[in-house]
């Protein structure tokens, strides 16, 4: 029977051969992002930039497709064993860049490393363990029935356990995760992904070569070489595309959308996004922010519509909460509350009529127009007598500052990793707890155990309607308390030359699947 099957598969492979030939990777793609990956260790930081790298040089067990369903990647199939256990079958014959073969021991290694990572451990908190059945079968187990198990599996990019084990010459463990430091993993990489990193000069240029033994032979991708150049200046990045210096750019600044649309040699792809851009008000650094009235005053002083209309050129949806429309936690009744008079009154009631001085920090190459948004917000706060000392930094320097919580107001954008509202709360508003990883990106140090408990309860609620109700209540309570200052959901835009077929590989997560990219 097995022989028959092999023969059958073999003949299929032969039949598919002409197709595979036509998809032979020969093309070179020059692309420009606003920034390059800050490290090569995909578990060091949970961010859009790192996930983009993960999808280039690694493969997840499963991944989101355009319709927000799941595509099988390294996991060939999966089935529920009971309401707390999911069994995955691994694809056979998958090779890492180092030549090692992928087995369940690599998945186990990766799972354990994720549990160690300060950025990822909160996402994997519902999981209690991994059961290895054989070389190609394993089970993921959660403590409670967990509705988002598969969503979370999109974050498991198996690492080459052999490559990342042992010690370096100076005696460090190769598996160590070092935040903003230098470790073996932050400078070396071995995954199963379509592209091997061949050279990297941080902040200058990064080169990728297509992996010769890439398992996914059905992929239509025909890009052999990728050169990634970070270009921070919006205008320069767009000019590089229009002049033909690069083939693909992201993000496209809202001011230049028309210019690119008008150009007949380029393609523009836009999507309405789900990434929330917001400010945290740090209560540990500023006494006044402990007062809910002051936080509300700030919330009333910020003109979200103005920012979305003018700075983002309508390329964003103004937000009064974290969950975008369509998410279970999205609460229809929460409205934008821009009202300077009310804000001034609140400051007066709180006893801060004469205002105070704070520091504000924002990246200048992470989110679309991030530094300009921060500048506009600083001007808006001047109306309620809050003087802002604004500092904008490139993201490679911003994240260490963010982790140290070194600004009184800090800008952050967040895309729910699990495509679910609970993820926003867990990372952005939960009481910070280094052990569980909760509130890992809560730079406001806002802490409301009741809301945390509510979200935790929602997380194990399998009745979707009840769950949505709880999450919406959480949004409501944070809104009333002005726990943070939401600004907008940022839309997404990419642009490329006409011969680069972008549309099929893009998605609302802003993770271009470059391995499947076709260049004509």
């Amino acid at each position: 029977m097995r022989k028959l099957l092999t023969a059958f598969v073999g003949s299929m492979a032969l039949a598919a051969a002409p197709l595979a030939l036509s998809a032979e990777a020969t093309k070179e793609l020059k692309m420009a992002y606003d920034a390059d990956p800050v490290t090569l260790d995909i578990h060091e930081q949970l961010s859009g930039g790192m996930l983009q790298l993960s999808h280039m040089s690694f493969d997840p067990l499963i991944r989101w497709n355009k319709d927000l369903g799941f595509d099988a990647r390294l996991a060939e199939s999966w089935e529920r064993v009971d309401d707390k256990t999911m069994r995955f079958k691994l694809r056979e014959g998958v090779k890492f860049h180092s030549g090692n073969e992928l087995t369940t021991k690599d998945v186990k290694f990766t799972y354990e490393r994720l549990k160690e990572s300060s950025d990822y451990k909160a996402i994997f908190a519902p999981f209690t363990g991994i059961n290895v059945i054989d070389d190609y079968t394993f089970e993921l187990v959660t403590a409670e029935p967990y509705p988002l198990l598969l969503n979370t599996a999109t974050y498991i990019f198996p690492l080459d356990s052999e490559f990342y084990s042992g010690e370096t010459e100076d005696g460090q463990s190769k598996a160590a995760i070092s935040k903003h430091g230098s470790s073996f993993a932050s400078g070396n990489l071995s995954g199963t992904g379509p592209f091997v990193v061949t050279s990297r000069q941080q902040g200058v240029r990064m080169e990728f070569e297509r992996f010769a033994d890439y398992w996914d032979e059905a992929s239509p991708g025909n890009v052999k070489k990728i050169v990634l150049t970070p270009i921070k200046e919006n205008n320069t990045r767009v000019s590089a595309l229009l002049s033909g210096g690069v083939d693909f750019i992201a993000p496209v600044p809202p001011t230049d959308l028309d210019r690119i649309k008008r150009d007949k040699d380029t393609d523009l792809v836009t999507m309405s996004g789900t990434r929330i851009i917001m400010f945290h008000l740090n209560q540990d650094r500023v006494e006044a922010f402990k007062n809910p009235k002051v936080r509300q005053a700030v919330a009333y002083a910020i003109n979200q519509e103005g920012i979305a209309a003018k700075i983002m050129k309508g390329f964003a949806t103004p937000a009064a909460q974290m969950s975008p429309a369509g998410y279970s936690g999205h609460n229809e009744s929460l409205k934008l509350r821009y009202d300077v008079k009310k804000a001034q009154e609140l400051m007066k009631e709180a006893g801060y009529e004469d205002g105070f001085t704070i520091t504000m920090m924002s990246p200048n190459n992470r989110y679309v127009n991030d530094d300009k948004i921060a500048q506009a917000a600083a001007a808006m706060l001047a109306r309620i007598n809050i003087t802002v000392d604004l500092k904008t930094l490139p993201k490679a320097q911003y994240w260490p500052e963010f982790d140290a919580r070194s600004g009184d107001m800090m800008l952050i954008g967040w895309h729910a990793d699990t495509e679910d509202s609970a993820n926003f709360f867990e990372f952005l508003t939960f009481c910070p707890n280094a052990d569980t990883g909760a509130g890992q990106y809560n730079a406001g140090n806002y802490c409301n155990p009741e809301v945390d408990a509510l979200v935790a309860k929602a997380n194990v609620e399998t009745d979707r309607e009840k769950r949505a109700e709880m999450l919406q209540e959480a949004e409501q309570r944070l809104y009333d308390d002005a726990a943070f200052i939401p600004l907008h959901w940022q839309d997404l835009a990419w642009a490329s030359k006409k011969n680069v077929k972008l549309d099929p590989i893009l998605n609302v997560m802003n993770l271009p699947y470059l391995g499947d990219l076709v260049v004509e």
């Binding site: 200046e233 001011t255 230049d256 003109n303 700075i311 604004l390």
Partner: protein, 310 residues
């Protein structure tokens, strides 16, 4: 008192300087333009429709309005607004003031240092001369912009950006002044070397005057004309240096923009329709530097003894 001023004015009117100024149309026009710019910069708080430093007056809804005469313009903003909603006219007036202050301030600092070291080196000679001129040589081998970038970055890192905003203007004067003093010092030294061999210096020495008096009261006045010429050119250079530093993000902060930081802030928009944010301050900068340089040229021609006495 009265007679003194009258006679001084009469002296100016009889001078060769005034004579050649009256005959040089370029010099007259340049002077009028420069005077107009300096006056409007000095009186910017009176002339400007709004105070661009007061963030509370800015409304984001007014951002990127075009100058009057184009469709969509608002009469309240004659030259349009920038990306944050600031009135361009007010911002340019205040920006010119900042640029001019830095230009003049830096040159005054340069002149003080340059004249002092130049006189000492030229008059004392020997070891003093050797040491001072080697320091000048070393400093000239660094580019001004590089020195300014390093010092500026250190300042910015150590003071924080709010504090930096308050002292930025003095710091830029300090940086640019410090970086360029050898230019003036060398010119002064060259003139002093020529002057100190002359009879009037010997006469002063014989009369028993002290070195200081000879240096500052006798030799210095005779070396002033090249200092004026080089000083004028240096003002233009200092303004350009400041604009370059601001464009690189190391100069004036966005909240108190100079012409350079204004140009930078509009750079993202230049190809997407809102050209005025960069172009208008750019034009003002070009005109300002141009008239100063034209005046400098004229001054050089007039003050060069070989040209008018020969």
């Amino acid at each position: 008192m009265m007679t003194a001023t009258v006679s001084r004015w009469a002296r100016v009117r009889d001078s060769f300087l005034w004579y050649s100024f009256k005959r040089d149309k370029v010099a007259i026009i340049s002077f009028i333009v420069l005077l107009a710019m300096v006056l409007s910069a000095i009186f910017a708080p009176l002339l400007a429709p709004t105070d661009p430093y007061d963030l509370a007056l800015i409304d984001i809804m007014n951002s990127e309005l075009p100058p009057v005469g184009m469709s969509g313009a608002d009469g309240a903003f004659p030259l349009g607004t920038d990306a944050q909603g600031r009135d361009m006219l007010s911002t340019i007036l205040y920006g010119t003031r900042v640029s001019l202050m830095i230009g003049f301030g830096a040159v005054i600092l340069q002149a003080v240092l340059g004249i002092l070291f130049g006189l000492l080196a030229g008059y004392m000679g020997g070891r003093v001369d050797a040491i001072l001129m080697r320091i000048a040589d070393v400093q000239l081998s660094f580019s001004t912009l590089m020195v300014a970038i390093i010092v500026g970055a250190v300042f910015k890192a150590s003071f924080g950006s709010l504090m930096f905003g308050e002292i930025a203007i003095y710091m830029l004067i300090f940086i640019i002044g410090l970086a360029e003093w050898p230019q003036i010092a060398r010119t002064v030294r060259a003139s002093v070397l020529a002057e100190k061999k002359k009879e009037y210096v010997d006469a002063a020495k014989v009369m028993g005057f002290r070195t200081n008096r000879i240096m500052f009261r006798h030799i210095l006045p005779n070396t002033l004309s090249p200092i004026f010429v080089i000083g004028t050119v240096q003002i233009a250079n200092a303004i350009i240096s400041e604009a370059a530093l601001s464009f690189l993000g190391l100069g004036m902060p966005e909240t108190q923009p100079s012409l350079g930081s204004l140009i930078k802030s509009g750079f993202d928009y230049i190809q997407s329709g809102s050209w005025w944010i960069t172009l208008l301050p750019g034009l003002v900068l070009v005109v300002l530097v141009l008239v100063i340089n034209l005046l400098g040229d004229w001054l050089r021609d007039v003050m060069n003894p070989r040209l008018y006495k020969g």
